[in-house]
Assembly symmetry: C2
């Protein structure tokens, strides 16, 4: 989450040029409040404390899309995933949960799973590559649950081969642990596997999906799984302070985003692959993973933070293009890492145009 990141001058300077930018390189672009809210029908069915109306409709649609018996709308993925793990842990009388070192629970939630749910988090494998079967085998002792993040966001949205994934899931089950999917970007994984969301979700006991990333909604998430688990998740949602008086605005925008953008995932992915092809020719740029597995990729730019900041501002001023709000340190110094996510706004750039802009950023 943004608030976690230290102040980044590149970001702050670029933010000031936001108003003069006419195009945005990544994601779905700048949208006004009115544009976002226009997705809500005037007579949309309102819920009361998460029950009824468009919220119940969205939950039914998610059950259908994910092929799960039950789903509960949640204010956030942070809440949804802590709740899923808490339930799996309580049912197994075991506090230990395992996940990739870059798991959202580990790096973005300030150990909430420990502070509020008394869970012990064990990281599995190497932060810079996908979790493997051998990594999982190396974890000793009992486990309540293992999280699989599909795709693995912090390493460019990489995805394990289907057979590897199947083998790992089967192994985790054989140890008596639940398998939970962090599917914040599950929608974006479908072109890589050439499978529907439900076919991927079928491997997992519980699945969290998000509505505001690839689908472009407001905040909100769903947790899907067996009836009894989701009934318990609703009780936990209330305890977390997440069963809100009216959840219909976020649910209404979510359902619109799901219908509009889930079918666009293959197109976003093809565009990401085409962009990567052109980027390959740009000096001082490395693509991660190459080719991209999803609509996203990380770019390692051999430049310094100061130079990148100056270049991003120059591109904004000269071309009216808003590029990268955030850069992190790359694996080697001086390298900066940025994340490019292909969305509606990116579709307006030809792949060569994107490569030219990135070349300008590392010039």
């Amino acid at each position: 989450m943004a608030s976690k990141r230290p102040r980044n001058p590149a970001t702050d300077d670029l933010e000031q040029l936001r108003s003069i930018c006419t195009r945005v390189l990544g994601g779905h672009g700048f949208r006004s409040a009115a544009e976002i809210l226009s997705a809500i029908p005037a007579d949309v069915g309102k819920d009361q404390y998460g029950a009824g109306g468009i919220v119940t409709e969205l939950e039914a649609e998610i059950c259908n899309v994910l092929g799960k018996p039950a789903a509960a709308f949640m204010p956030s993925g942070t809440m949804a995933q802590q709740i899923a793990l808490r339930i799996h842990a309580d049912r197994r009388s075991c506090r230990v949960v395992a996940f990739h070192p870059t798991c959202h629970l580990e790096i973005h939630e300030d150990k909430a799973y420990k502070r509020m749910h008394d869970l012990v988090g064990v990281t599995v494998g190497n932060a810079r590559r996908l979790m493997t079967f051998e990594d999982l085998r190396a974890v000793p002792g009992r486990l309540a649950a293992v999280i699989f993040e599909l795709p693995q966001r912090e390493i460019g949205g990489a995805l394990p081969a289907w057979k590897d994934l199947q083998q790992q899931v089967e192994y985790v089950r054989s140890r008596g642990a639940a398998v939970h999917m962090d599917g914040a970007r599950l929608w974006e994984s479908t072109p890589f596997y050439r499978k529907k969301p439900a076919e991927i979700a079928a491997l997992f006991d519980t699945v969290y999906v998000s509505f505001y990333k690839g689908l472009g909604g407001l905040a909100g998430a769903c947790l899907a799984g067996p009836e009894d688990v989701i009934a318990e998740a609703r009780a936990w949602r209330k305890r977390h302070g997440g069963t809100l008086f009216g959840m219909w605005p976020n649910a209404a925008v979510a359902i619109a985003g799901l219908r509009q953008r889930l079918p666009l995932m293959p197109r976003y992915h093809r565009h990401a692959v085409a962009i990567a092809e052109k980027l390959r020719a740009v000096r001082r740029v490395e693509i991660l993973p190459d080719p991209p597995h999803t609509n996203m990729m990380r770019l390692l730019l051999r430049t310094s933070e100061n130079k990148l900041r100056a270049a991003a501002c120059r591109v904004a001023r000269e071309q009216g293009v808003y590029t990268f709000k955030w850069s992190g340190s790359g694996y080697t110094s001086p390298t900066r890492m940025v994340e490019l996510t292909v969305g509606d706004a990116t579709l307006e750039f030809k792949p060569q145009e994107v490569a030219d802009i990135v070349a300008e950023l590392v010039r």
Copy 2:
């Protein structure tokens, strides 16, 4: 919260007649999604993860209205209050918090304060009357915090006399405990005390206020208090899964409700007092408290659940008036208790009209 209540046939039947009702007796009436969202300016400043835009603006306005140095917007009061208590408890190395037996944390949150924050809740005094100085003196041992709910919703919105409140707060402080206000309906308390919200809030270390009750907003709350406490509360909000990607729709409706309806509180209160005057002449009806301290009152109706359900449906069919969605068992049997909250919709009824409708309900 609604989901906690057992199925109530009176409610379910009346709900089916909702569409033929042209007026609503309590609160602000039925409002469509479009009506509610129309409070959001088209170019409203959007936050990112609760930072910036209208969220920051609302927090500043709440600081001003409550006279506190800092405030954090929260998705719900459930979250805001658990967080406040957790912070007070951690700072005092004491897990014990005390509150009235009808406190929201005790009766509507399924012991979340214990399950997630390892707090021990001690109830103070009698569920059917206000907490007293003597009640507080009878609580043994160390306390981290005491919650004062102003007004005390479950007993008809009763308020302690100002001097009693001052004495109790002073006493709690002398024991080293924090004083926290459950101000879900603080706005509604201002006419009784003839004080501004900030004058009442000044007694307390931390104050929670709500935006969707008297103010008629969407879901949402603020926790206000000292800078360092609120900074810590923001960290807890994130851990709870409450620092949402975009919190601007709820904040925008909240700020509009605050500006529109806070000035109306004396009018709601006067109308409630005038209604109570007329209700006093109705047989088989008791008003709690009489006269009402705020814009709300509980009515004890000497009738059975079945009769009340039938009468509510008859009033809906014959007069097009939607009355009481919910009734609970009164203190004696057969008595039903309903809650009447005076809002925009109630202002459209003359006091005698309200008395006539209630008379019809207990006929």
